[in-house]
Amino acid sequence: MKAIKRFLHGIVAHLDMPLLLIVLALMTVGLMTVFSATSSDGFDKLDKQLINMAVASAFMLLIARTPPQTLMRFAVPLYVVGVALLLGVALFGVVVNGSRRWLSLGIIRIQPSEIMKIAMPLMLAWYFHKHEAMLKARHFVIACVILLLPIAFILKQPDLGTSLLIAAAGFFVIFLAGLPWKVIFGLAAAVGAALPLVWTLMHDYQRRRVMTLIDPTSDPLGAGYHIIQSTIAIGSGGGVGKGYLGGSQTHLEFIPEKHTDFIFAVFSEEWGLLGNGVLLLLFTLLIGRGLMIAASAPTLFSRLLAGAITLVFFIYAFVNMGMVSGILPVVGVPLPFISYGGTALVTLMLGIGILMSIQTHRMLVKK
């Protein structure tokens, strides 16, 4: 009995209530919307997503109990394994839908780029922490190398969405570690200048996506179809939406990938601007809480990690809603805690677990 009590106490002690409530609220919205999007197929997807959530939450609880110092020890091995697996994918990967993203390990297939989403901020936070208080220009250069190595592999797969998320995660660490503004602006200018070159290096389908964004009607039955249909769904939702389970765009099957990447169109059609406002508020609260945790974190490692993870949540949400509403190109990024899918959910909940760990182990470190 005592052991169980202690165990339960250990779990509760490492939960951050505000964060937990926000995530639960988002997941509730997610479950409802997944059901609406897939109701014609019965409860199958809903059941599976519930299981995904339970599994992801177990991971979160586990990480939340793990002190940041322990997490730090995993930084280098996880990064090295991640890069090695990416190399494995490049050499022996399985091609699914024209992209070489998966590594087959007998019965299961893993997507090593997913590991990188956690490993990257962990590694860079560890690196800056190690060189704390004596950061020089060369440390930033090395950090950039650490960042770009795996991204090169992932871009090659090709997986633009994931490269973008990992690049963002790494960039946030470097930015928060104090990359001088002049360098940031200098880089931005350089990237702007390099855009024509990037254009020539892009894959055809990536170019098409950018073109489609500028003028979706140029390809109404191909790449533009997604954006046209999702903006119609959002726009026809109006102020208060068509009501739960009442989206005609959704239920007449006009929205593609409506329970995964385009789930926001389903939500938006049924709940309108009001629902969108609430959803944005929930994400703002999530990010606000994350930034607060980062601000009060005791060590450089935990500060950088918490800050970067929080901002990655932002990127997920912003890029997804931006692409579904037609202001960003279509890249494969799910809406955090809402979209159907187990892998992304586990990664996100690991991030939440890290935030909770940093927050709840704060006092211990100070002592």
């Binding site: 014609s40 249909q229 726009g235 990010i287 800050g307």
Partner: protein, 642 residues
């Protein structure tokens, strides 16, 4: 202290950076919100109109499934159009009241409801599921008048599959039935999902399954304008479907019918092949089933009947059931001995009526033996002792190699699914088959029983017919096949299936001729003479008996053993002897001696195929032939009866 100062400074900068990031987040979300405001408030009217007019949907048009006809054009599978009453569960308010209401207008029996419930469980709620099939014109009119009362219920004209000959060649033709989750996966794997959008039936077994993608055709599409609940209002454009290809079979339905009737309901199978090209002329598995039962979704009680029937009518015995071939193995053994040089035709043994091996005695069927026996006589009188000794001299490896060459112990490649490989015994096979060390080793005594077609040997009738066809064809091997041509119904263009030989077995002409002569001797003066008395053509054959039950120390008396424990009766044959046009293998389960049940069936098939005349109806059972009476037994060894 300086460290602390540094730390504070760092931490301040960090917080400033966080503030910048937070500001960016708020700005970005504000941007999103203004985009939503633009779409949902300022342009709301526009997008509402777009959503309203977003009503053009593609409706698939199911293509006509190809017909299946026999070699003379007799239709074995075709389509007919009929009206069905269908319910889309997601569009109805209450399923039970809807069905009860419908029952007041058209006849809906309890079995229709049961079938509907089962289909409901297998389908998605937006799929249209039939509650009644084959509505009469009056029923269609009555429903149409009351249609407004039943949202989600529609009368649809559908094509149905029909097998006009009923159970004839049912195992070969197979049947179609509703697509289930597993079929859907297969369709996806083949990249055919779009083509099957409107299709709800798929070939499950037999030719219907094997040639599914030939028979199905290419779906067409109609671009239609739909109203707010998705009902079609206007057709905008139409891409017509392309009908599936027709199959012309090698099967002769009249021959098939005569062969099936010859079984008279007895369990067993028959495979008849044209040796010159591998075309299957008849493929019988008795008893059979009516494939028409499956088309609309089989009723529960029908399924129960088929499934629980001890005679297992769903089993395709001709390709799947493998049994020891008994003495029909002997001509193949003899050919193997000649080919490998282990025997010359003239080499004769003195048969004392038994063969001693180690401390075991293998008995011949004739007490006292057959005297001097050369190869010709060994086949005509079916002398066990000759083959005991031959098996011992050849050794199991040489036997397995030769029989494998003839096509035994592997799939023949027939164009219907579900074929068994059979068992070609060898030390390697035993090692694979058993996991325990002590069961894995091969005993020389086992070779002896393999030599007379007993022991582990197990082949289907298709195997035996195929092997014999390869022999009488002097080693040229054709893949046995049921489909002669696949033809396009629009262009009439026909594509032949498998007319070329697949390989050549090294056999000498004079060796094959000796075997053929000896098998002709069996019909003329041996165990099959009674069954073929008075035939208008010359045929060669060999009877065989496969033991089902071993009686320890007792004497096997057919009449006294319960029916299910009686021996299986085999007969393999070809005709005419000079230029064989047909080769067959037939087996009657628990039919007793080969000459007794199996040979008379072969007689009826040959009579029809070669002379056009045949007695129809069950083949008579001839009395047990005199020269090979009740089979003797040896301890634990199979007995041989002919």
């Amino acid at each position: 202290m300086s460290d602390f100062y540094h730390d504070e400074q760092d931490s301040d900068r960090f917080r400033r950076r966080l503030l910048v990031a937070g500001a960016v987040v708020l700005l970005a979300f504000l941007l999103l919100f203004s985009r939503f405001f633009y779409l949902q408030v300022l342009r709301h009217a526009y997008y509402t109109t777009r959503a309203e007019s977003n009503r053009i949907s593609l409706v698939p048009i199911v293509p006509n499934r190809g017909n299946i006809v026999d070699r003379h054009g007799v239709i074995l599978a075709r389509n007919y159009s009929a009206f069905t009453l269908e319910i889309t569960p997601s569009k109805t308010l209450d399923l039970e009241t809807t069905i009860d209401g419908l029952a007041g207008i058209v006849e809906i029996q309890a079995k229709d409801r049961r079938r509907f419930k089962r289909l409901l469980k297998e389908s998605k709620t937006f799929e249209s599921i039939p509650i009644r099939t084959r509505l009469s014109d009056v029923e269609v009119a009555r429903f149409t008048a009351n249609r407004f009362r039943f949202p989600g219920v529609e009368v649809k004209a559908r094509l149905f599959r029909q097998y006009p000959e009923g159970a004839l060649a049912a195992h070969a033709i197979g049947y179609i039935s509703r697509i289930n989750a597993k079929d859907e996966e297969a369709i996806e794997d083949k990249g055919q999902t779009a083509n099957y959008k409107g299709t709800d039936h798929i070939g499950k077994i037999g030719l219907e399954a094997n040639y599914e993608y030939e028979l199905h055709g290419t779906a067409g599409y109609e671009q239609v304008e739909v109203d707010f609940v998705g009902r079609a209002v206007r057709v905008l454009s139409r891409t017509p479907p392309v009908s599936g290809n027709n199959l012309t079979l090698t099967l002769d339905s009249k021959l098939q019918k005569i062969a099936e009737q010859a079984f008279g309901g007895r369990r067993g199978s028959l495979a008849a092949i044209d040796p010159s090209n591998g075309a299957i002329l008849a493929l019988v598995s008795s008893p059979a089933f009516d494939p028409n039962l499956f088309v609309d979704g089989i009723r529960f009680d029908d399924w129960d009947d088929l499934n629980n029937n001890p005679d297992k009518p769903m089993l395709n015995r001709a390709i799947y059931s493998a049994h020891p071939p008994g003495s029909t193995f002997k001509p193949l053994m003899a050919l193997g001995a000649l080919t490998s040089g282990k025997r010359t035709p003239a080499y004769a043994i003195a048969d004392p009526g038994y063969f001693d091996f180690g401390n075991r005695r293998f008995m011949d069927d004739k007490v006292g033996g057959h005297g001097a026996v050369d190869m010709f006589k060994s086949i005509v009188v079916s002398c066990n002792t000759y083959y005991y000794r031959l098996a011992n001299d050849m050794g199991i490896d040489a036997i397995a190699r030769f029989m494998g060459d003839l096509g035994l112990g592997s799939k023949t490649g027939i164009d219907i699914p579900g074929e068994a490989s059979g068992i070609l015994p060898s030390p390697q096979w035993k090692q694979r088959r058993y996991t325990k060390k002590e069961q894995q080793s091969w005993f020389p005594g086992e070779t002896i029983s393999v030599g007379i077609g007993q022991g582990y040997n197990a082949y289907s009738t298709l195997h035996m017919a195929h092997a014999l066809a390869n022999v009488v064809n002097y080693g040229t091997v054709f893949r046995p096949h049921l489909v002669r041509t696949v033809s396009n119904p629009n262009s009439g263009e026909a594509r032949a299936i498998e007319a070329d030989p697949v390989r050549q077995i090294a056999l000498k002409t004079e060796h094959v001729d000796l075997i053929k002569r000896a098998m002709a001797g069996v019909v003329k003066e041996g165990t099959a003479s009674r069954a073929f008395a008075g035939a208008a053509y010359q045929s060669g054959g060999k009877t065989g008996t496969a033991q089902v039950f071993s009686l320890r120390g007792g004497k096997y008396v057919a009449g006294q053993v319960r029916e299910r424990l009686r021996d299986h009766s085999w007969y393999i044959a070809f005709a005419p002897v000079d230029q064989p046009r047909i080769v067959l293998a037939v087996m009657v389960e628990n039919g007793g001696f080969g000459a007794q049940s199996a040979a008379p069936i072969a007689r009826q098939v040959f009579d029809y195929y070669l002379t056009g005349q045949a007695a129809t109806g069950p083949a008579p059972e001839s009395e047990a032939p005199g020269e090979a009476s009740d089979g003797p037994l040896f301890e634990d060894e199979p007995h041989e009866g002919d």
